[in-house]
């Protein structure tokens, strides 16, 4: 669901404040088990065959496979059969979800000139899939409202909050009008939501050629970038409130589940919305009058971008089939030998918007390769210490439906049993992109240090370090990129990102509080050019995604290690100090945020008093100056400050105890072992709070959440950070207490684990 570009950006979310990682001891293993583990991984690798990935991808991407399509069901059955063939205990688990599909669509410019939008992606020579699209849905946005409106157009750039602020300075309102915005700058679903909140009657979202068309590179089929008629489909469900079936928040969408009506569903949009191509957008934008769009609002079309409103007026109508559709998750298990009730879970979705070769099948076939290889290991007599659960999710594209409904249905069991969830989605040529629970940062670095980059021969960690250094040395590099580069240059680990949303990890991490990793390769591809279009096809992926499928194999190696090591580990392969340092960094950002807002508010208010905005404006253009804002008070975040300080101390002590006890062979009594497992199980859940986040109690994690106003993009310490950003000061202080409480609960566990492990370190 999430474009690779966005995902890679997660990498840049911050430095790890750690000393050099020491690859010598295998994290989580006593020395005597490490060699066997490495030998197991060698056998695992030997089973991976790029030809498998290519063949599965070609077959699974041969027909449209969106939710409800015949090929989606066939792919589920194919996946099931394969898992079973490889020795897994597998089954299909079906849910019934609201998934509206378009019946009729119409978009036409009615003034000052007329034009009827094509709303269709034609056949491209050499792309076999595009000629095989009879079962495809037309380009549309899932969970927009039906409607029939005729109104003036207003161009609002990316349609994000700052764009509406800018629009206000021009004295232009979107009330009663149709908003047209370009993709990018924030999650798609926020664009129509914000348009609605500002009074618009409909929203059109187009792909600007500067972003992913000819402005990015040669267009398909010459190159891989977006041709003029290609459209980016996508969900506009209000997933930052809750993902999953809009009618069954918090519970599984089983056949007999108690459902909301569509009108009651908070995540279904209230106005019609549609994605359009730049070929369809150009006549609409060219017909706009009003002020010339500010420089940052101008895209790559050969026109002067105007804001409007009007004289361009459009007629836009859409009707949909609002019936429930079935989704098919394939769930496959290898039972653990010693700890069968500890589950190491791995997932990738299987449904695409049309053919879905990149998104999601490139990741799905890597997961299948892992499953085949693990199956072979099992057939050869090996059995993991813990259980391994592989999941092929359906319905991710419309709203993380498959994963969310499964996680909600099995919430209690998962919270009791899940040790780790590892996700992937689109996977392509390039660099390892890793994000997730920061206690796993060293683990990720260690794994990356053991996987070879298929093109360069060095480890993927070395390549990632090189890129971090180069990114930090570029002209115009952000202070953050420079800081990360400096740390990496000094021998520090490559930081992993924090997870927002955009793929199936969300219900596990943010709803259930399960430790999570997202691992994918990318960055040397041209995915954005066909993202969510009919041209996301096997022929396109085969040329521009991962020719030779060697990064598919690299992903299987990478995630295979994460799964196998976690399944077999003697202690969790974590370094809690990484988590503590990361929280400390987030907290510093939050203090900085409040300080910066305080200064900016004071400065802006003074400028308003001095009439500076008016005097600096061009009097021949309409200009409405911003309103004065209340001063930013100094906030009491002491609870969070204190809890973070304690966390750093507890984490360091626990890490030391863990490393020492592993080095000493971890001789635990049976009682100690039981006590330890009990402390470890659900540890990440102590970072959740049952009240959840303000206005969206589905989101329970107090450290990571998708931003309410960023959609996919993460907000760390979200209860505090978003309260400050929205100037709700008392809420910020309230959440300082809640987050502090969660961190203290986490530290309590760390302290107990440390105490438990200390005696097992023999005294010299």
């Amino acid at each position: 669901m999430k474009p690779a570009k966005l995902f890679l950006a997660l990498l840049a979310t911050g430095p790890a404040l750690l000393a050099a990682d020491n690859p010598a001891p295998l994290l989580g293993f006593v020395p005597e088990h490490a060699a066997a583990q490495l030998s197991l991984e060698t056998k695992f690798d030997a089973q991976l065959n790029p030809a498998d990935l290519r063949a599965w991808l070609e077959q699974m991407a041969a027909e449209p496979n969106h939710v409800g399509s015949p090929h989606d069901k066939l792919n589920a059955e194919f996946t099931l059969a394969k898992f079973q063939e490889w020795g897994w205990d597998a089954h299909i688990e079906t849910f019934y979800v609201l998934y509206p599909t378009p019946l009729t669509q119409k978009l036409e410019l009615v003034a000052p000139t007329t034009f009827t939008a094509k709303l269709h992606e034609p056949v491209i020579p050499g792309d076999r899939a595009s000629a095989n699209a009879k079962d495809a849905l037309p380009p549309y946005h899932a969970y927009g409202a039906d409607g029939d409106v005729t109104a003036e157009l207003v161009y609002v750039n990316r349609g994000m909050p700052d764009d509406y602020k800018e629009l206000e300075t021009h004295g232009v309102s979107v009330k009663g009008r149709i908003v047209i915005v370009r993709y990018g700058g924030g999650w798609r679903g926020l664009k129509p939501k914000l348009a609605y909140e500002h009074g618009a009657v409909a929203c059109l979202i187009y792909s600007d050629p500067r972003d992913d068309g000819y402005g990015a590179g040669d267009t398909y089929p010459k190159g891989g970038y977006r041709p003029a008629d290609a459209v980016q489909r996508g969900s506009v469900a209000d997933m930052p409130v809750y993902p999953g079936d809009p009618l069954t928040p918090g519970i599984g969408a089983t056949k007999d589940a108690k459902r909301l009506t569509v009108a009651e569903a908070k995540t279904v949009l209230k106005i019609p919305v549609m994605p359009i191509s730049y070929a369809d957008a150009q006549p609409l934008l060219a017909a706009l009058g009003g002020p010339v769009a500010p420089e940052g609002w101008r895209g790559g079309l050969p026109i002067t971008y105007h804001i409007g409103p009007g004289p361009a007026k459009a007629h836009f109508a859409i009707t949909s089939d609002w019936s429930l559709k079935p989704i098919y998750n394939v769930i496959a298990t290898i039972k653990g030998r010693e700890l069968p009730d500890e589950w190491v879970i791995r997932g990738n979705h299987r449904d695409g918007w049309v053919f879905g070769a990149w998104d999601p099948l490139s990741g799905h076939v890597a997961m299948m390769a892992e499953a085949k290889s693990i199956g072979a290991l099992v057939k050869s007599g090996w059995q993991p210490k813990r259980s391994i659960v592989y999941c092929s999710w359906d319905g991710e594209e419309p709203g993380l439906l498959g994963s969310t409904e499964w996680a909600e249905t099995h919430a209690e069991e998962l919270q009791r049993k899940a040790v780790l969830y590892v996700n992937s989605d689109t996977n392509t040529r390039g660099f390892l992109g890793a994000a997730g629970s920061h206690a796993l940062q060293a683990f990720v670095n260690q794994i990356a240090g053991s996987v070879r980059d298929p093109q360069m021969g060095v480890t993927v960690l070395e390549r990632l370090r090189a890129r971090t250094l180069v990114d930090g040395s570029r002209k115009g590099a952000s202070d953050e990129a420079k800081a990360v580069a400096k740390l990496v240059a000094g021998g520090g680990p490559v930081p992993i990102g924090a997870l927002g949303s955009g793929s199936d990890f969300t219900p596990f991490l943010q709803h259930l509080g399960i430790s999570t990793l997202s691992l994918e390769y990318g960055g040397e591809d041209q995915q954005e050019g066909v993202y969510h279009s009919i041209y996301d096809s096997f022929d396109h992926y085969d040329r521009f995604g991962d020719p030779g499928y060697r990064y598919g194999v690299a992903l299987a190696q990478t995630i295979g290690r994460a799964i196998l090591r976690t399944a077999n580990a003697d202690l969790p392969p974590v370094r809690q100090g990484d988590f503590a340092d990361t929280v400390d960094r987030y907290l510093k950002e939050i203090h900085q945020l409040a300080d910066t807002m305080r200064e900016a508010t004071e400065r802006t208010n003074k400028m308003i008093d001095a009439n500076a905005f008016i005097l600096a404006s061009d009097p021949t253009e309409a200009y409405v100056q911003p309103e004065k804002k209340a001063a930013v008070p100094f906030l009491n975040l002491a609870a969070l400050d204190n809890a973070t300080l304690r966390l750093k101390q507890s984490a360091a002590a626990c890490d030391e105890a863990g490393a020492q006890s592993l080095a000493a062979g971890l001789k635990l009594t049976a009682t100690q072992q039981v006590e330890l497992e009990s402390l470890l199980q659900g540890m990440e859940q102590s970072l959740t709070d049952p009240t959840g986040l303000p206005g969206r109690d589905w989101f329970k994690h107090m450290i990571y959440a998708p931003g309410l106003l960023t959609g996919y993009g993460v907000k760390t310490l979200p209860g505090v950070r978003e309260a400050i950003e929205s100037r709700r000061w008392s809420e910020a202080e309230q959440y300082s207490g809640i987050v502090g409480h969660a961190l203290d609960a986490y530290s309590d566990r760390l302290d107990k684990i440390k105490t438990l492990l200390k005696p097992v370190v023999p005294k010299n």
Copy 2:
């Protein structure tokens, strides 16, 4: 010659490190003379009439008026007649300069497809001038070589030094090829020069629509921006080496002057070059193959920008008339009453590339309004204390010909007599843009505080302060913009810029060492859209330049005050502390530059050793990593450090003595007066050094110069700064000594003036 946009950017060259300016005492006047001066200025203002400016502009821009055209001569005669009518002692001074004009031009794409460039700017409905262009020259670059070449094209972005570095990383060479670059990013003339130095056989420079066409705003005639066929002409003489007639460097191009041959002239380009429109550029760029251009290289055409080389191949041929042409300066004088041998000089050029309504006539008609008003004051019986000299320059566009030849011819007299040179060029609606000798910064602020903004009613200083505050508060504002805003918010003066080149101030400031100001309004116009094209017309200016000609009047008021106050002042209206603080800031920048280069070199060398650039690159694309560079040593800049410290102390003491002696009525004996005038005269010349700058000894000023690799853009402390930038360490240390010596000579004068003025302050 210089576009308003560039000029306004000069404003951002740095903060003034001063306390709030106190407008109360009129700078340079004893209290008893101040009132008379202000009353004189009221009378001066009363004579200014916007209708005059409009009428003169319409008449002077009615026909093409480039060097050698009949209308250029007519305009000189008209200006002469007007000055004489207004009571000035005026004459025409003629020079004979090399000014090649095109005879034949041909540009065609010959592979892989064919296309013949139009090279012509058609009539635009509603623009009367464009229908009256029979005497116009076709679009061309003055001082390019003749030639006839057929070769592959290579796209090199802006054609600046960093672009060639980037090109090298792609493994692409321009040797034997035709370089095509877009305008912007640096001075036009450097583009073909650098192309030549890198082995190219020709250079094409086009106007990208993102910069000044539809990407900037509605195109002419709907709006004011560059239409598809409009071309930016311009000079490509190597003016950073020396401006003026290429055949007579350092001496006046009088009829009988000793001339170089064209082959000997260092400033004439060695390869053919031509400006083209974006309509002509698009087929050439679209035919390029090779790597996709880096993101920062992509413009606003609806194509994927490629680097090449080839398969696009072009045939380009040009021949020119290389004969000498006459240029006509109009020089007009009002003789001073007390100090006739002290000259306050004012100039604006009169020649355009075609009709020149914006550039230069908008500034020229403001200068005429000043002259008319001063004439009226004289007729009413007033006479200035010092002489006033007004200059209407010819031949500025091809290379500051008129001003440079005049300044070279009269160098000795000017260095003996000139007190101040004030320049303007294009003048339009907007904000005051001021640059020049920093001792005049407070003077400019005081004047700006006494002129009303025609649109807002506040003073132009208030508007400028407002814009500085707003610019500093924008998202993404540079650290410098923030620092300036902070100073201005704290009550500090608005800083003036440092002068590079691009208009007629250059020979006065940088060759002769005469205190200089450049003053113009702009920033709310659409000049860049027609800059140096046939559409720089009266009809265009009348709509988009300064409707109502009220900023023309504001410029006349602003410069009128500068001229009249300097002509009548009791002491020079300077605050030397501003100059000292500015030099101190430049010096800090230079230390920072060396430190930054040292760190960057060390970091980059380590990255090369670690193979980081290779590992971070995409192996499917050609990539050549940069070469290691020698470490940056610590430099001995002690001479400059010490001289700057002394300057700050001497300036502060001199300012204090000046202010006190003025407040006390400045009772000087005749002997003291003579001694003072002798110390003041040529004071700025102590900032020059007879050896000039490395490789370009025409440039004598040690504080300000156009950058050898920026063209118009200033380099401050150029001998030291450019040496460091070019890694010539011993030269940097050598110039530290030379600049330090110049500053010491300046401080010597300050100390003597202080000593002279001290006794005249009565002791209480």
